[in-house]
């Protein structure tokens, strides 16, 4: 009985698969043990049946759609521009953000250097500033701007 347990795992071996000493010992056991011999014979008789059965199952199916589906997938991969396309198609949001990032950065720089324009009117460009008496005149590209002095106000008040 213990001998059977020892040799049982060897019963599924194929020719040449066991070390020579083990193979010879198993053969000697099989000569003496009719039960193990019967089991070994059964294993050998059914060897390959599983493959046959599974292949028969496969043969029942129509594989034309299978071939078409595989080739469609393979061809689709061919037609793609490459890994960049794969990455973009799998990370569309990230791709969009990445593509727009330089534009956003450029826009931010423009806004930063232009500064705020609260009243939507262009800031007067000062070309020259002169003082004539108590009156200050700013010469801008939009014409002269006269800044009235305090004395004028006083004068107005005096009239």
């Amino acid at each position: 009985m213990s001998e059977c347990r020892h040799y049982a795992p060897m019963l599924t071996s194929r020719p040449g698969e066991l070390p020579a000493a083990d193979a010879q010992a198993m053969e000697r056991h099989l000569d003496a043990c009719v039960e193990c011999r019967a089991l070994r014979a059964t294993f050998l008789a059914t060897e390959g049946l599983l493959a046959e059965g599974l292949l028969a199952k496969a043969a029942e199916r129509d594989f034309a759609p299978f071939t078409d589906a595989v080739m469609a997938r393979v061809t689709r991969r061919h037609s793609r521009p490459g890994r960049l396309y794969d990455w973009v198609s799998h990370h569309r949001v990230r791709a969009a953000i990445s593509a727009l990032a330089p534009a956003f950065a450029a826009a931010a720089l423009v806004v930063y250097f232009q500064g705020p324009t609260p009243d939507n009117s262009p800031a007067p460009h000062v070309f020259e500033m002169t003082s004539e008496g108590v009156t200050t005149v700013l010469k801008t590209d939009q014409g002269p701007v006269v800044l009235m002095g305090d004395d004028d106000d006083d004068g107005d008040e005096g009239t």
Partner: protein, 210 residues
């Protein structure tokens, strides 16, 4: 005259879709049979098989030794099938024994030398038995199903099975014995095969040898 695998692989590598299609047509049923044996579900096996071909196509350039294309294709298939079973198992929270991921290793002849319908010894009983065996496969535990398919369809040796499954050779031998023994029990009703406790071998434990 049909082109051999080697020339088809070489042409496929250069972008010849017709050559790759010829390989698909040549091996699709065998690839499907391997997948079906492991995952059991026909739709999943169909998807796994398609994915195997697509992955094979995308990695053709990295294939070392074009003559090994079929074995390489079967390895991709069985890995994908085992992954599919694992995903299903995780979703079911089934506490089956984990099967370690293994590197791709070469295989034997296996299913390649099983030309269905060409064996002169084929007869009705044999075909019936093969059909029953396929059905019985679904009743085996996952670890036994996997090792039987890898052994019978891919033709892996003890050493190759050990490397693929990440277990000791002794564990391979005992696991394979139990798998085949359970299969005999399931088939006993159909063909009068012996399925009882012959010589007490049922008490053989996995990993009892190394």
């Amino acid at each position: 005259m049909e082109a051999d695998d080697l020339s088809l692989v070489r042409r496929a590598r250069t972008g010849d879709d017709g050559a790759f299609q010829a390989l698909v047509v040549r091996y699709q049923r065998k690839v499907y049979a391997v997948a079906l044996g492991i995952v059991r579900d026909t739709d999943t096996a169909w998807d796994v098989s398609q994915e195997a071909f697509v992955r094979a196509h995308s990695h053709l350039a990295g294939l070392e030794g074009e003559e090994a294309f079929v074995k390489w294709l079967f390895r991709i298939t069985s890995h994908l099938a085992i992954d599919a079973v694992r995903r299903e198992r995780r979703s079911l929270k089934d506490a089956m024994e984990d099967v370690a991921e293994a590197d791709l290793v070469g295989g034997g002849e296996g299913i390649l030398s099983t030309p269905l319908g060409l064996d002169p010894s084929d007869n009705l009983l044999r075909r019936e038995l093969a059909s029953r065996m396929t059905e019985a496969l679904g009743q085996l535990p996952e670890i036994h199903r996997e090792i039987l398919v890898l052994r019978e369809l891919e033709g892996l040796t003890y050493e190759e099975l050990a490397a693929r499954l990440g277990i000791q050779k002794g564990t391979v031998m005992s696991r394979l014995f139990h798998a085949r023994k359970k299969m005999q029990v399931l088939l006993a009703d159909y063909a009068g095969l012996r399925g009882g406790d012959v010589g007490g071998q049922d008490r053989v434990e996995e990993g009892s040898e190394s």
